[in-house]
Structure formats: structure tokens, C-alpha cells
Subunit: 283 residues, 6 copies
């Protein structure tokens, strides 16, 4: 599902290096260095303790390869795969020290990414039949946005803005300062490059009408009641403008929201509050 | 409660800088730069949308001060405070651009830290009456361990190891490679410095007996049944060795676990799966 | 003209630090340290030796403030100002050592940025009357893209993509691999987020027709003859799609290109080959 | 010509990494990732669109190898080679994604370096017959000085100081503060190490006489008229002191300046204003 | 002797990179680049000019491998080995440029580490028969603590705290602020995690008695006279608390101190003042 | 004595930051944070426990200011001052936590720098009357070269090369590869810039004659006997070439070496083996 997207080791390596330095400090893995001979080899399996959707399997590999470049790695699943509890994810052979020392960092990254992919997949399964796309937000973990946005894609969702720098999203405070939706959009049009889309967050149908009249590219319908969503979608569709619902989206509510016909549903919870998937290393 | 602990801006600033660079890229905040005049001033309040325990209030301040060193900040709560939904946390006056541009990074950090403090507080409230201390693990977000361990303390918990480098924790895989608990402990004693404590994870009472005979500093009782925990605590107490329960700890189970008399209960979930506290910036 | 855009010192400082380290090495400014007493104060003026359009005046200030935080700085022009040869740009009072040691780095940055702003301004002056906007490309100096894109804005131009990550531009090689313009656009639509615009580079009117049929957001008309440009603009305008001319744009040709009615004219030369503006520090 | 000089990948890699991060951001190459399958291979040629002198061919290679370590690279020219328009520079086989994603960064570096080498070569060709050596200055692009100074050498020039830290150059402001050329030189002699050469910039023959009397290692004759240059060279030669002409050096004037007999001619324009050589990647 | 301890290249590489950049600057090794053809190969031997205990042999290897990844390296000794003057330590074959350019950085690291290992070994030889362990302190070279602590282990010593963050050491100033040893220990117990040991520095037997009553984990006997040390050891042994002597430890005094029965003797001099071992590269 | 040289905080701060991070890790100063209230203020004095020559007094200040920007600092000596044992060096008032937490890093830097300045001063006192200048080498601590070279200047010595990049020093291995001193010098002349001096290391009078004939800038007389030094100095003086003695220089031998009339005496021991000066913080 996410086959077109690949993480490049070159871009992920600095995150892995920082994570390992954070865990190893200057003294290193006191326990493993004391107990395990440097020459000792071992085999291990990455295993999902709970069912879920996997993301970050290559990231785990790179953690171990950082500590032992000669490690042998056999992935048993690809990112985006849904696995049952107990499923083996990868088989690893290499220095026992590298396996034990890298275990926690590898699991912390894989567990977090797979947790995000899993809740995304759950939401996608509900929303997709109605034609709605699940998208994430900028409510991500500082330092890990690229990995978390990738995990959303692995789960079947799509990405909203990556940052404040790649698209315009006019929110209530911007509107207030600009003195209205129309002047806010005008200001953005005047300053933004020609490849920058403009989305406006609206709180009600009047604001929506104003935004549509100003020919925005996308409208975000924030905390609309379901019946209002239906009317908003109709208004926007007439203009050919995609609609995005946001606010209060949960597994319980997402089906009804999708049923209103909105094109996109954005969910901060995917990245700021998804529980980690329980993954483990069995030796 | 966490009054002895303070985060130093000097140590947190690199995290803030990286988070802002991640969000702003090279082009910066397209929306705000287009809509908001550079000279415009504004006032805003940080507000908790849900009740919870706050951690990271100074971190939020430093985010805004990074963008506008002249900002005026008035904190209305201290870290460790429990607040009701709707409670104002701080009052900010400064450049409107700095407030809007820094909002998401500040909230991402404050929300995550307060989410951790809040679930910690919930657990502490249940476990403390029985005399058990809630501690976190190394299952933290790569790059944010210092902030997350701090949040646990703000919530009333205590910290386990910060990394592989500051204490010894012998786990099952170490035991297997060493050929038993006794030789594993002996190897650690031989190599570790004199200020390093040794904890051993045991799976049953026989292992516990062996660990106690080898005079470890702390025993981790992993996935023990409640009745076994009671017996284990008795065995360890005889030797004057503190006990730590781990595995399957939830808000539902923590009370019964604490009632067994264990000294410490470690909970990975505090840091790897705590939902963010919903905090917002109202202008 | 560029009043809405501001460089933030927080984001420019790492560039300044790196530039100063590159120039000062470990031994520092041997000449100044030998000749100038540490306590000696001095006054200096930044002066434009040639006429041009200024960009980066604050960057120069921050260079000197890095070396002497107590420096007094009085800017006499703002970014975007056009000045005659000999015009003073700023007045500086502070430690003589800071002025002499920081001079070259400050001038290297200010001269390069103002050189870009100046050629941009020259092009804008010719193209604007016909309604065409001058935009830059990704042909920038590695490490200085943010400063150079800012300089283009200061000169009255607008920015194209900041990087490969903030918009889609389908080029000939993409088309060849995808097997045509239509499937290339389809693939992008399937994978890109909803806030990402899609531009396609076309080489002839047939390709243009295909791109318009596929409803791209912008078309880049690469190396079109003038008469073809006229026809292309007519075709695109019918669909409401903005047109961008690229290839072989010089001060000599830009007027004729703008007269064809294209909306945008992109010029790599603005950033990869603009001669630096000659600026100096007079003490 | 530059065969003794080699760039080490170890030292250039940080520049390449920073350039790629600048271009790819967190979201990566949206277009290529959407259009090009990860497994797709491709062949490409680096080609010079205009005639010129090449510098940085290995730098281009390392850009692509950073993205695809398994790339096959066959260089068809060496740095320092002069090539006609249309000349192929290298043949590359590897992942299509790596070729497309790395193209711009590779060309930006290669084009800039070759642009500098080309103008240097043009000047060298004119000045060399008269025995004058073309040297660059510290007017380089912040962050790229090592690459630009290398490009000057590839073009047949030589390097002046690399920074303020490796030699002494006493300029007019230093002289003014020291109270004369003689005390300025004396101060430098007193403080500098025994392996540091001292050059003095002089504006007229009186200053030259003073500098020669003070036994400087090199004299810089700044903005001298041609007849004054001739007299200055004679004065300096008597003392065995090398002479360097600076100021107003262009392709038009360099021949006449060289004919005065000066040993060195320094040209800031080589690095601050050389137009990039037009290089392209043909797939 | 230090066979359980290994330095990981991954963790040492940043130190090596920084050291090489410090030595090579932007211009590189002027002498070698001018004199030695890039293709020239050479053989060399690392040799100890004086007898001593070796530490860092792999670090030297990595320095050369950084400059020439294809270098052939044959180590003739292992860290911890004692060698006579003139002993060859390793044989190296590779690019002559890499050998010459890396020589000084490799020797600076190897010489410093071996110097520390050598003085440690000398002390250990004297103290070990009496059963005392030699430990280092935090008086290390900023930036090189991990290497220096490793060198102490290679010499047969053990490590004290790696930093302020991995154990508690209550010193006189802490006692003064806390209002006594007992409250200081109580404060630490209240705040520290359960895997943190507490050591207290005491100046006399009364303080020792107070510390022992408060059940600290280790006592540091600072600047005790020999007869007081004997009494202190007896008091602590009764409580089963290890003793550490510190202050004024030299090769002359360490034997007598060890004879008092103390468990540990800490020596700042090992790391802050050990002379480098004279090692050289013979080609 | 070193009044012309100043360390800039801007350049030293990265070293201080790294040193503090190394000592504080992620958990910070466990002892101080537990024992000392955040609001507690304190006064302290930096004191020299032994007599010596001070270098780095401002570096110590910046360490404390990093932890508490509001600290009050009163320096009682300047770098280069010689102080008796017990001399107070500075008075500090500020947060007790900052004083205690920064103490070790401040002392490690100040002690090392002052140790170097002290041994330099001892050597200078002996060598200066004979007219010889003491210079350091590149045998410095990786990462601290700038500070150590500064300390040599503070002690009254001068600096040799800062790195391989700022001057040419042809050693025996270069000579061997070049096929003689004359071709080695010729190669350097051909490739080096005009502001680069050339020094040659010679082992005997024949080599010296060859080097002088080739008109090098400086000769290094390596491990010459005293009578040979006298003859070598005479030979070089005839040519006006400065002489530098190296090899086996100690406090015992330096006087006799200086008496031979050499201009410079280089001593690696100043930086690689100088014992730290014992400095302390008294509260």
C-alpha cells in the first residue's frame, strides 16, 4: 500500500545515531559489556506481541547495522503489512552484543511507528468505504516527524502539511488579525509562491461561503456538526473545492463523519496519542 | 512535588531548536509571514482543554522566547500542578508572529510532557497509599528521554535507569548467555565501577532465590502472579533487597500489584503510550 | 516591497557561525589580533560601491553582533531599497577588532544577496509591466538557499519551490519513466498530499494539451519559441491554468517573453550566476 | 594541471549532506517518489552544455553515491580538463530515483566549481605568458571556501590565504590603527608565529618603500596605475620581494597588468561573481 | 586484562572526525599534498619509543581508515599489553598520503591513552597486592572522557562515576548547604532513582560515623592520615561499607595507602596529568 | 605578556557546551539537584592550590555563565599572571547549583590551560635570556588545540603551526618520498600559495646545507648534539635563515640548547604532558 514510499537510510541515520547516543551515553551498555563476550554471536527474532500494522521494519534493521555492520537481516514482512499477535517480523544474526545493546532503541522506533500505522489502518478501514481519506497533522513528536508521517502512509493514510513551510493553512487567529477570511486569503495570494496551495479553516457555513467565494484550494471544516458537514460538503462540491473535516475524530465518530461525504478527515491523535505497538526481540 | 527538579534552558534549547527547524524548514511560516505584520503584537493564553497534571510549562516558554526574546511570560501554574479542564496555564504577550509560529511546537512538547505527567499521577495516586513507587522505563521517545523522564518526576513518579550506561539490569538474555544468574552477577561485579548498582530480572521464585543469594541490589519481578509477588516480596525483604514489579501494569492492575508490598512498579506505558494532554493557545 | 518578509536571526545564526568559523579557523584573525588593541573602538560605514538593490542588511548586522554583542548599528536602508553607487547602507560603532574581523564574512553575505536582489530587480522592472512575475529556481548555492530565495523576494521576485519536498514538478525524465504525462500526473495525484500542487514541464503544444487535459495546477513551458508561447498561453488561459516560461531567459529576452502573456518567468541565472554587488566597509 | 590536489570524500561529505537535506527536507523528493518505482534502474550522462574547464567531477559522484552507494560511475574527464560544449563528463548507472533526486545538488556544486575553474583558466591563459600567477581571495561563498579554492587550483590558479588564520595581510585600516606601516609590521612580527608570512597592502610608492624597508614578505599593490605598477615591481624586485596586483582586474585588464611584471594578480571576481558553467544530466 | 571492554568505532568516530578537521582545516595537509603523489603507497609501523601499557590501538587504526578506507592494518599488540621501548605496535600498509596526514592525530590519541594506561598500570601494580583497586575521577580532558576512562580500564584500573548523572557523590559543599551529612543523604534518597548509589566524602572519623549511620553505599575518605585510614576502614568494614581513599595519591604514597586496607583509591592525576607515552610512526 | 591575545566567547562556547553535556548527560547533576534548592545563592572563590601561571580564567567564567547567565564574576588575575600557591583567582556569586554543577568542567579547563602556561613560563624563563623563543607543536589534545595554543602564548611562548593547513613542514618521510630535500622543497614551492612558509626538518649538517641552498624559510634541527647546533646556527645565520631546535627538550636541557644561539626551541611536552595546575573552588 505504501510501496511507493521508502525511507532512505541516509536520512534516518542521524535519528538513529542520536537515539543510540542517548541510550548509551559515554559509558556504553554496562550490563552487556560485562556479561557478553565480544566475539559471541546470536540469533534473534523481532516479534509483534499484539496484532497491528507494521511500519519501520527497515529502521530497526539500521539500528542493529549501526552497531554491527556485518549483521545478517531477513525481513519477514514489509511496511504496511498487517500481522497477528505473535507474528515474527524479522530474523537477525550477528554479534550478541549488538543485538542486546540495540534492542531498546530499535523497539522504541519500530513500536512507535507501528503504533501509528496501526491506528491509521483502523481509521482508514472505516473511512475508506465512504471515500474519505485519513490524513495526519503537525501534532507529531518533535524530531520524529518524517518517521511519523511515513508511518501514517504505511497505515494507508495520507500526509497533510509537513511543516509551516510547504503549504498555507489560514486558521482563526490569522483570520482575526487579517480582519476576515477574504483579506487573509488575499494576503497569502500576494506573498506565496505559485506552487503553494491555500487552505482555510472555517467554523461555520458563513465562513465557508466566504472562503469559497475567495477561491481557496481546500477548506477545513473544524468541529462541524454532522448535519452541517453534509451541507458544507454540498456547498464546496459545487465549487469543486475539496473538504477536510477536523476536530473530535475518534474510531467511534470517524464512520459518521466519513458518511457526510467529506474528502479528507484529519486526525491529530494518530501521531500525538497512538499507543505504541508491543514489539519484542526474542533471542 | 517535583520542586527539586528543574529543567535547564541550556540543556533543552537544542531540542527546541531542532523542533522549530523541523516545523519551519527553510521557507518559514508561509501563512503567518503573509498575513501578520512583523510589528503586530498580541496576547495569548496557554490553556488546558482537559484536566491533567502539567509538565513542561517552562519548555513552552522557551519555544516562544526563541522566536521573540522580548516576549513577556507569566506562568499561572508550576510543573506538577493538577489543573481542571479549561484552566489557563500561562499568559503570553509579544510579537503575534512569534506566538503563531511557535504555537504548534510549544503545544507538541507541553502536551506530550503533560500527558506523561498525567498518567503518572493517576498511577501514583493508586499505588502510593500501599507504599509503592511508580517508575518509568527506557521505553521513551528517541531524542526526548530527558524531557519524558522529567515529566514522570513531575507526575510524582521516579526514574529508573536513564540509559544503558548508568546502572546494570541483567535480563533473561544476559542470564542465558552467562549461563545462569550467579555467573551473570559475578561478571557484572567484576567489571562495573563501585558506584554502579546491579538489578536482576527474575521470572520465578527459584531465580529470585538465586539472585538474592548473589546479593544483588534490586530484583525485578517480571510478570509474576499476584500471589507469587507476595511471596517474592517476603523473600526479598528478609534480605533487605528492594523489589520491583514489571509487566502488564495498567490503571486497573496497579492497585492490586501495589498491595502485594512491592517497593517499585515500573510502567513502560507511561512514556511509550501515554496520550498527549490536550493543550491549546487562545489568542 | 519585501516588507512582509523578514529573516529571523534565530534561523540565520547557524549560517553566520559556520561562515565565521570557516574564515577564522582555530587561530583567529592573526593580523587584527596583532595590530589592534582589544579595547580599541572604531566607527565604520557599510557602503555600496555600485548601484543596486540591497538584501541582507540585517545579516551583516548579525555578523558583527556575533563578534561584539554590544555593537551599535544604525541601518540607513531597508532590504529592497535601490541605492546609487556610493550610498551608505549602515553605520556601525563598536570594537575595532570586531569590525575588522567580521568585515569579509559580512560583505560576502551582503554582496551575494544584494547581487541577487539587483539582477532580480532589473528583470522585474522589464517583466512587470507586461504582468509577468519573475521567479527563481532551485539552482541556488548549497547551504544558502534560504538567504538567496529571500534576496529574490527583496528584489521583487517570487519564489518557486524551496525544495523537492514542497511541491511537485514533473520533468521530462519523470514523464519518460512514467510512460507519458497523463500517467505521471496520475501517479503524483495518487501519492501526494492534498496541499501539494502539481506543475508539469512541457516541451511542445501537444504535451501542453495533454497536461491541461490532466488538470495540472501549473504548466512550465520550457524553451518555447515566442510564437509558441503565445499560443500556449492562450490554450492554458482557457483552462484557467497559470503558465511559466523557462529556459534562455536573459535581460535581453525577458521583455519579449513577458509580452507573450505568460504569468511567470523562472530564471536560474538569478541565483547561480548573479555577480555579487560590490559593497565595502569604510572605517 | 591540478593533479597534485585531490578532494577527500571524508572532508566534502558534510557539505553534500547539508545540501541534500536543504533540498529534500523531511518529505523528500515528492515527484520522484510518486512517479518512479524504487527498483527502477537508469543510465545517465553528465554533460557540459557550454565549453569550459571542469572542477568537482568527484563531488558530483559523491552526491549520487550518497543516495545510492551501489551506483556505477565512469568519469570521462578529470578536474582541470577543458571541454567543448556538449562534452560528456561522466556516465552513471544506478537507481533512477537516486539520479533524479540527486541531480540538482550535483549540478549546483559541479556547475559552480566549473564556473570558477573556467574563468580562472581564461585569466591564467592571458597572464601566464607574462609570468604572472592568478590567485583568488577570501571573497568566497560562505560554507564552500574549500571547494571554491580547489576550483581555482583546478583552473590553473593558486590560492591566497584560506582564512584570517593562516597568514597576515595588513590592510589600510590596520595601518591607520597602528599609526603607520612600520609599526603595523612590527606588531605582527612580535605576535605572529615564525611560520607566518606577512603581506602589506600599499596604495602608493611611498607606502611601498616603507613596507620594503620593513622587510615584509609580500607586497600587495592595490589599484595601482599600470605605470606605477612597473615602478613598484622594479622597487620590490630589488629587494627580492614578490609583488601582487589587486583591484579592477578583469579579462580586459589582466593582460596589461601581467605585462608590468607583477608576480601575482589577485581576483575576487573568480569566486564571488563567476557565472556557473551550464552542466546537465541527460538520461 | 581489559578484554571485556571494547571501544565501538561508531562511538569514537565523531572524536576522530573532529580531531582531523582541527588538524586539516579547509586547506588540508599542504606539505603532503605537495610532495606525495596521490597514488603512492607506503608501509609504516607504529612503535612505542618508551616502555608502557598500550591503550587505543584501534583508535589509531580508525584514524588512518578514515583517510584511506582500504588501508591494511595488522595489530601486533592488544590494549592492555605492556611493551618495552622500541616495541612495534601495528603494521600499516596503504596510501602514503593517508599515513602522513593521519600520523599526528593518531599519535596524539594513542599517546595520551597509553600514557594514562601506563600510569594506571604502575599504580595498580603497587596497590593490587594489598587488595586495593585504583579508580579514576572526573578530572578528565573535556571531550575525551570516554577514551580516558577506557584507558584507565586498559591499565587495570576501574572507573568511578562517568559524570554527574550516573551516581551521587556528596561533597563538603553539599553537606554545608544541606546542613549536615544526614540531611544531605536523606535528600538524595528522596530524589534519586532506586538504581543510584550514594557515596559521601568525609573529612574525619566523626563525619564517617554519621555517614555510616545514614547507611550510605560508599564512603570517600578524603585526605585522611594513614593511621586514620586504618581506623576508618575498620569502622566501615563493620558496616559492610566499601571505603575509598582520595587526596595526595602518588606513586610514592599509594603503597602505604593501599596497606591500610581501603577498598578503592581514586587518583585524579591518572587523567589530568599523566604524561603521554612516546609513540611514533616509522615508515 | 599575552595581552594582545584574547579568547572570544563565541569561539570557546561550543567546547564548553560539549564539556558540560559530557559531564551532565541527560539526567543532570543528581547530587546537587537533590540537595541544593534551586533558589539558593552562594559565593565561591577560584583558588590556585599550587603556584603557577594562569591561563583560561575567562573560560572558567563562561562555564559558570552558561549555567547561570546572571552570575557575578570578579576576576582577580589576568591570563599570563604568575600566582603563588593559595592565590585567589576570581570571586563568583550566583546560584549555588550553577557553582556546584559547573565546578569540575571549569576546573578541568582552567587547570589544564594553566598547567600548560606554567611549564611554558618555566621554559621561557630559562631560554629567553639567551634569546631563544619557546614554541609549541601539534602534539595537542584533540579538540582543545585552540585553547592549548592560547595557553602557550599566555605562558610567554609562541605558536608553531596550528595545523597541517597553515604552513609547510617537510619531515624525513616527505624527504624520503620526494627523493631528497631539494626536490621536496621544489614540489612545495610549486604547489603552495605565496603566503605559505616552508620549514624543513634536517637531521645533520649535510641536510642543513642542502636545505639552506634551496632557500627554505626556516630550518628545524632535530635531535642535534649541542656542538652541532652551534655549527648549524652559524651556517643558517649566514643565510639569514631562522633555526629551530627540537627533540629531547626538557627543563634540564633547554638552557644549554638556548645557549647555542638557536632562534626557536619547540617542545611537544608543553601540551602533551604538562601536568594540570591544581586549582579549586572554595565556597
Amino acid at each position: 500500500m505504501a510501496s511507493n514510499h521508502q525511507l532512505s537510510r541516509w536520512r534516518v541515520q542521524p535519528i538513529i545515531d542520536a537515539a543510540l547516543r542517548e541510550d548509551l551515553g559515554d559509558a556504553g551498555d554496562l550490563t552487556t559489556d560485562a556479561v557478553v563476550p565480544a566475539v559471541r554471536l546470536a540469533s534473534a527474532s523481532l516479534v509483534a506481541r499484539r496484532s497491528g500494522c507494521i511500519a519501520g521494519i527497515e529502521v530497526a534493521r539500521w539500528v542493529f547495522e549501526t552497531l554491527d555492520p556485518a549483521i545478517e537481516w531477513r525481513a519477514l514482512v514489509e511496511d504496511g503489512a498487517e500481522v497477528p499477535a505473535g507474528a515474527p517480523l524479522a530474523r537477525i544474526d550477528g554479534q550478541a552484543r549488538a543485538l542486546l545493546t540495540g534492542e531498546r532503541v530499535a523497539l522504541n522506533l519500530l513500536g512507535r511507528m507501528s503504533g501509528i500505522a496501526s491506528v491509521t489502518r483502523d481509521m482508514v478501514r472505516i473511512a475508506a468505504p465512504a471515500g474519505a481519506t485519513i490524513v495526519c497533522t503537525r501534532k507529531t513528536t518533535p524530531g520524529l516527524r518524517a518517521l511519523e508521517k511515513y508511518a501514517v502512509r504505511a497505515g494507508g493514510g495520507r500526509n497533510h502539511r509537513f511543516g509551516l513551510d510547504d503549504a498555507i493553512l489560514i486558521k482563526d487567529n490569522h483570520v482575526a488579525i487579517a480582519g476576515g477570511i477574504t483579506p487573509a486569503i488575499a494576503a497569502c495570494r500576494e506573498h506565496a509562491g505559485h506552487l503553494v496551495k491555500i487552505e482555510v479553516e472555517v467554523d461555520n457555513l458563513d465562513q465557508l461561503a466566504e472562503a469559497l467565494a475567495a477561491e481557496v484550494d481546500v477548506v477545513m471544516l473544524d468541529n462541524f456538526a454532522l448535519d452541517e458537514l453534509v451541507r458544507a460538503v454540498a456547498m464546496a462540491r459545487e465549487r469543486g473545492v475539496p473538504t477536510e473535516a477536523s476536530g473530535g475524530v475518534t474510531l467511534e465518530t470517524v464512520g459518521a463523519i466519513a458518511a457526510t461525504g467529506v474528502d479528507l478527515i484529519s486526525v491529530g491523535w494518530l501521531t500525538h496519542s497512538a499507543p505504541a505497538l508491543d514489539v519484542a526481540l526474542d533471542m
